[in-house]
Subunit: 248 residues, 4 copies
């Protein structure tokens, strides 16, 4: 395993922070900057950021070629993400780039393209309490996390969450209002590792929470394997003699 | 469980049979007709067919609304399938319609949209022997099938097949030329059951093989659950009192 | 698929009902009788019962040979179940018999032998509310069940539940006191289908709840496939010529 | 992640090498010594060995407490392994110790206890060719391994292999005589990672093959996570107020 730093790109839609004063108060420079700073502070990672309004949404070929893990936050402008960029990101994930999808990113084009389902769910914005139970205390993603993470005020996401069966469910959330949710889900697609992590509503200071940031740092290390394996259909010569059954 | 007949629609690209005399000799009226006749003969199913060149590829809203299981064979004209029809079929699968994807359909738009991966593989056309080992003799799909199915002459598909981990691997193939392949794979997406079944090259009489047809009949009964569950995001009122943690 | 009735055997430790007046008041003739009557009333099933204190715990070879699905409730006397009977039941499950494990049966010898883990969990007896969210409304086990089942007073079981990843999680519970739990879990072992279903504490009238009984009837139909496939290591002659690589 | 060396214990039944001159010729000091030397030479690991005939089979509490990964080779004397030691090893695996099971170890008490199935399979000893196809070139276990590993002469193991669905299938084997086999399988049980790896028959020099040894070194690093998490049922006080639904 390489000891080189994991190269993370944090992608943010970055609209709420510019247009909604309440959100700007919590994240004056944008969520991507807060997340990126926390990752760099945790060590072993180099971080760049990219946003919707940049050319090619900041996700040019050279940027992706130098990215081991892409973190994705989007909400109100999923449709504004160019299909060609979505395909480019999907291809990179299949070749081995990690992808961490946050909160409302469950409805992003890239996540839906990779899992193939509707990703519908129940939701409610009522500043309620959430407790994320840790089902996998031995998994690299939960290193340093105890039995659960508690968030005093969150938007609720409830089941049924229409996703394929995850390869592993890391967290299940309890909500004050009566629902549950698979809040931390691991998927492999192609050679890439994908982690969906539920917390992150823009009007609560979720990305200032130490445990949430710890999970993101752990997940970035876990997903950033630094493999890059091309995929193509191969017309292959036989490895063993053929012909005993040839039609006459 | 309903005892009503399972309503199957067999979709075929239906080009090889029209333009290639060698294929037409094996399937004069098209593969879809041969498969459809076998399903009807097996009992408990009503069958219609649809092809690429029909309006909306024969997959209109009323046709899909009356379809419990869709069987899909395509090869050289995957790109000619309209994206809107692909989305329509995908939506129906998520709501509960079964989907059986045959052979080169691994590269169809609909299969790739549902699984999210590149679906690349190794291949070779050398009339070689294939033996499909039955890993799940207790599964409804393999009812009446013994330890393996042997096909004297097939096109080879070899690993690595770039698909997400199947919910269950039903068959693994051995090929004379030295390769292996996960030839029968089950996936659930949304509420729909998907079965990928590898055999079916157009230049060999695969769909005249009794065991292959038996598997298709079994799989149609298994995938045609007749549920239809709408999917939507729900803004849900709380089920329990909220408010103890409201921010001041 | 056979239309013959599914043959169910309901096994109950049957000690609480004999020795604890509070439990006897709820289940005068034993939980097994209440469950068995509900299954028979639901149609398409024939039911017998068996208890710990019967010879061979009522699970003789002839009884198991005539059982398609075994339902298991145990709590305080798991250790009193004979290892030879556990092995016999395990063997039958591997050959294709269904097994439905209820509530505290998570800690039974037979469940632990089949899943291989410690099956530890959190618990609390505080008459609290439970809401079982239905993650698989299209699955045969949840036919007729809506978004969730609500139980006003239950014992709490909380994560982390030490089980292998289930083949499918059918229900996740929300508890009033703040926990969550994978309350409906499907496993295949050998050719047998296993369903773990959490509700069922002896001091609450859980098995008088219509939705709980509906799930048990659905699960019995689903698990009772009526296959019986022997398992043995086979010393197999080659199917293809060998020898090109023989050591000199 | 700790940079401390991974502490590996290689366990070998060590009977063939003492009693069969043909095997002794290939492994004069035992397979465990050959495997252990290769692991140490690969770097980052400290290795000890243990055998059936040592007191407690060499698997005392202190040895296991200082073991991150246990490698297991057994064949003709599975029954001679003490049940108490099997339980001790199983407990350690559940707490986080890695376990790598080789070849005929599929039939060992420890593997069967952890997976819960019969582990039956087809087999044949005919010095035939095996080709292990690499399905997961991006997985840590296959680092440095190409499309496949070829072994000129092996014992054949064929499907159906009665195991629970693996968390991931790493290798599928092709055999000259016509069979296939899931030759590299990953399972998690408790917090422990388990890897079953098929090659390793005693009469062929399998553990002198560079690719086989490379896989064992990779798998040891992957499975040796160095977590140790106790498991117990916890009687837990409520985290939220209870009582609104108490029975009168």
């Amino acid at each position: 395993m390489s000891r080189d730093p994991v190269r993370v790109t944090v992608w943010n839609e970055f609209l709420h922070e510019q247009h909604d004063p309440a959100v700007r108060k919590i994240y004056p420079t944008g969520m991507h900057k807060v997340i990126g700073a926390a990752l760099e502070a945790s060590g072993g990672m180099t971080v760049r950021t990219a946003t919707l309004e940049e050319p090619e949404h900041g996700l040019t070929e050279p940027v992706l070629a130098a990215t081991d893990v892409l973190i994705w936050w989007g909400h109100v402008q999923h449709d504004a993400v160019d299909d060609a960029i979505v395909q480019r990101v999907q291809q990179k994930v299949l070749e081995g780039m990690g992808l961490i999808v946050l909160h409302s990113g469950h409805y992003s084009k890239i996540f839906k393209a990779l899992v193939g389902t509707s990703c519908t769910l129940r939701c409610r914005e009522a500043a309620e309490k959430e407790r994320l139970w840790n089902l996998e205390p031995g998994h690299p993603i939960t290193e340093g996390i105890g039995d659960y993470i508690e968030l005093p005020n969150t938007e609720m996401y409830g089941e049924r969450f229409d996703i394929p069966d995850p390869d592993k469910v890391i967290f299940i959330s309890w909500f004050e209002g009566g629902e549950v949710f698979r809040s931390g889900c691991v998927f492999q697609r192609g050679h890439g590792r994908i982690f969906y992590f539920r917390p992150g509503h823009e009007t609560y200071p979720i990305f200032h929470n130490e445990s949430v940031l710890r999970v993101l740092a752990n997940a970035s290390r876990w997903a950033g394997k630094r493999v890059s394996l091309a995929m193509e259909c191969v017309d292959a010569p036989p490895l063993e003699p053929i012909g005993r059954n040839q039609p006459a």
